[in-house]
């Protein structure tokens, strides 16, 4: 078990970092290449002011009409995304790993808070899955991969929670935790989870067109 742990937390972690960052660079490069080769004129419409206006409205909870119309989805989506980013970075167990490996550290989340917000992510995934199945307009545009992504996102958080408690068999679950986290990172640039990278560009473009050209709101 220890050997397996060493493999997944050693070489496999390095491989994950390489694929993840390579993937992000590849996707950004592909986007830039397509932009320069085929749609260079779009660059002339980009406006920093209106890009930021659009991003600001969409990054602030209830900053847009559609968010105000759907308060439950707004609450769940924002909680989900915030926890998704905070937990892996500020969890004590993760900060300790950084400290041991690179001798760098930063403040951690208090235990009970960390426990609570860890569970927000899988809970939100269950909500998203329920919404996908229940709402006809969401089900219509869903495919099996959409459900798979929810499992993929929830798994590292659920398994991490399990390991933290040292519940029976946590050593095995730890392997699941690490591998599922790696799978999430590796798939991110190559699937529609890439919206994490691309949304900044699509929002900026929509914001620029609406703000600088069409003199109207896009939120």
């Amino acid at each position: 078990m220890h050997e397996l742990y060493m493999i997944v937390s050693g070489p496999m972690m390095w491989a994950t970092c390489v694929v993840f960052s390579g993937g992000v660079i590849y996707q950004l490069g592909r986007l830039l290449r397509l932009l320069l080769r085929k749609e260079r004129s779009l660059l002339s419409y980009m406006s920093l002011r209106y890009s930021l206006r659009s991003i600001a409205h969409w990054i602030i909870p209830f900053g847009t009409l559609n968010m105000r119309r759907n308060p439950l989805i707004t609450l769940v989506s924002f909680s989900f995304h915030i926890c998704l980013l905070i937990v892996p970075v500020f969890l004590t167990a993760h900060v300790v790993l950084w400290e041991e490996a690179w001798n760098i550290s930063w403040s951690c989340l208090p235990g009970p808070v960390a426990d609570g917000i860890t569970l927000v992510v899988p809970a939100a995934c269950i909500f998203f899955a329920w919404r996908r199945l229940r709402r006809p307009e969401v089900r219509f545009v869903s495919d099996p991969a959409d459900f798979m992504f929810l499992v993929l996102v929830a798994l590292p958080f659920l398994s991490g929670f399990y390991c933290c408690r040292h519940w029976p068999g946590y050593e095995v679950v730890m392997i699941v935790h690490i591998v599922s986290g790696q799978a999430l990172l590796v798939s991110l640039p190559f699937t529609r989870l890439a919206h994490m990278i691309l949304v900044w560009f699509t929002r900026s473009y929509m914001g620029s067109e609406f703000g600088a050209v069409r003199h109207a709101r896009d939120y």
Partner: protein, 462 residues
């Protein structure tokens, strides 16, 4: 759905019947006969690889299939939340599959894709305000139209309009002599009211070229009369072209025939340059503004229109603000305002439109939602131009618009756009709303001071 639920007035849903709406369209049927699987794949691949790029890649990679665009769409709302009518639902049934299957789709698929892209989406961009990612669904459905155009599968009526553009440089087969005759006829009539009034043709070096769309000379000549009265009263140094290039409408933009669109806009801008005018003022038309300000200019390589172009709403605003037109007595009946997509989500003229309406009318009430969030008239984007085979679908898709107008409570709806005007009139008749749809020019003409104008009795005597 909320909008419908909140409304006290009920207009029965007929969404259940939507599945039965299978229009027979000779243009589409004929186009389908020439299709082979190989041709479909070749055309789709060609359009996707040659004409799309970063935008399409980013939109398809980033869409999280959340469905949050759905409630932006008046078709979706009017069809009781049938997901096949939601913005991304329409993309899923068209471009999504084309991309996923690398163009290997059947003629039956193309038939359905053409119907969806041309007649079930007004390219109104309301869903752009609802998508958290910032996906431009109207753009994606424009790509589908472009593919259908390249395959020759286009609604007959729409294609006929494009043929007219191609042959005559105007939308409605108006012959060269008919155009000049109509202007002179309107000038003559208007001189009965305002002696000395002119519609100056081909006046080089005038400050303004006034341009209209072909429906005006074809069947709404009274609008030319009113424009002439407004221009003469305001003392504007203006002219109209006597040769082709006078019509700035553009159905080629909506059929996906961007080559024709480019020809039209080139002649249009060149006409303004030929007349050496300082700016173009255009009539109350939304899609024509989109064509010269957003789409046609870009196709020709102009980041912005090469010559200043002003929409009628903005022009009237300027005339009123500068006191070049004065109001004799404000219009009294209660009015409401329909915000045309292309003038609001396309150019942000919503506040100016309100300023003009309030300057002309004593009693104004908003319809809800309004400004950028207004519902489309269900006629725009070339949908009304697809003709009678699709009218029933258009009326079913307009239920939410009918409710919105009805609950506003005003009997007079001002719609400063030709397409909206025709579309709202259809809705008015179909749902028996008892409304009157008016242009701003109708009301402006009615309430403005006309110094030097003859009284009606004098005109009749003359």
């Amino acid at each position: 759905m909320d909008a419908l639920a909140e409304n006290k007035v009920r207009i029965p849903s007929m969404a259940g019947s939507s599945a039965k709406l299978q229009a027979v369209d000779a243009g589409i049927e004929t186009g389908l006969k020439g299709l082979t699987p190989a041709k479909i794949t070749e055309v789709i691949s060609r359009v996707l690889s040659a004409e799309t790029g970063a935008r399409l890649m980013a939109y398809f990679s980033a869409c999280t299939h959340c469905g949050l665009c759905s409630e932006a769409c008046h078709f979706y709302l009017s069809m009781d939340g049938d997901p096949a009518w939601s913005p991304m639902g329409k993309v899923k049934q068209t471009l999504w599959e084309m991309v996923k299957k690398k163009g290997r789709v059947s003629p039956a698929f193309i038939q359905r894709a053409a119907r969806i892209a041309y007649t079930e989406c007004n390219l109104c961009r309301r869903c752009s305000l609802y998508c958290p990612i910032g996906i431009d669904v109207a753009y994606l459905l424009s790509v589908v139209r472009r593919i259908c155009h390249a395959l020759g599968v286009i609604p007959l009526y729409l294609q006929d309009t494009v043929n007219s553009h191609s042959a005559t440089f105007n939308q409605m087969w108006v012959k060269a002599d008919e155009w000049v005759d109509t202007l002179q006829w309107q000038e003559e009539d208007a001189r009965d009211e305002i002696p000395g009034l002119r519609i100056p043709l081909e006046k080089e070096g005038a400050e303004i070229m006034y341009s209209v769309i072909a429906p005006e000379p074809k069947f709404q000549a009274g609008l030319l009369y009113k424009a002439a009265v407004i221009m003469n009263t305001a003392g504007v140094d203006w002219t109209m072209p006597a040769r082709p290039g006078w019509d700035n409408s553009d159905m080629a933009m909506y059929s996906g025939d961007f080559e024709i669109m480019g020809r039209l806009k080139r002649l249009y801008f060149e006409t303004a340059v030929r007349l050496r005018v300082k700016k173009i003022v255009m009539c109350e038309c939304g899609h024509a503004f989109r064509s010269i300000y957003d789409t046609g200019n870009r196709w020709l390589g102009w980041r912005m229109p090469p010559i200043e172009t002003q929409h009628a709403i903005d022009f009237y605003h300027e005339l009123l603000e500068k006191g070049r037109i004065r109001i004799a007595k404000k219009f009294q009946p209660l009015v409401t305002l329909h915000d045309p997509c292309n003038m609001v989500r396309g150019f942000g003229l919503h506040e100016r439109a309100r300023d003009v309406v309030k300057a002309l009318c004593e009693n104004f009430v908003e319809m809800t939602p309004n400004r950028e969030y207004n519902y489309c008239c269900t006629a725009g984007g070339g949908v009304i131009n697809c003709g009678p085979p699709y009218k029933q679908t258009r009326m079913l898709g307009a239920r939410v618009k009918a409710l919105q107008m009805q609950t506003a409570g005003a009997k007079i709806v001002i719609a400063p756009c030709h397409n909206c005007h025709s579309g709202l009139e259809d809705i008015n008749q179909h749902y028996r709303l008892g409304l009157h749809i008016r242009y701003l020019a109708d009301i402006l003409y009615e309430v403005m001071e006309k110094p030097g104008a003859k009284e009606l009795s004098e005109q009749e005597a003359a």
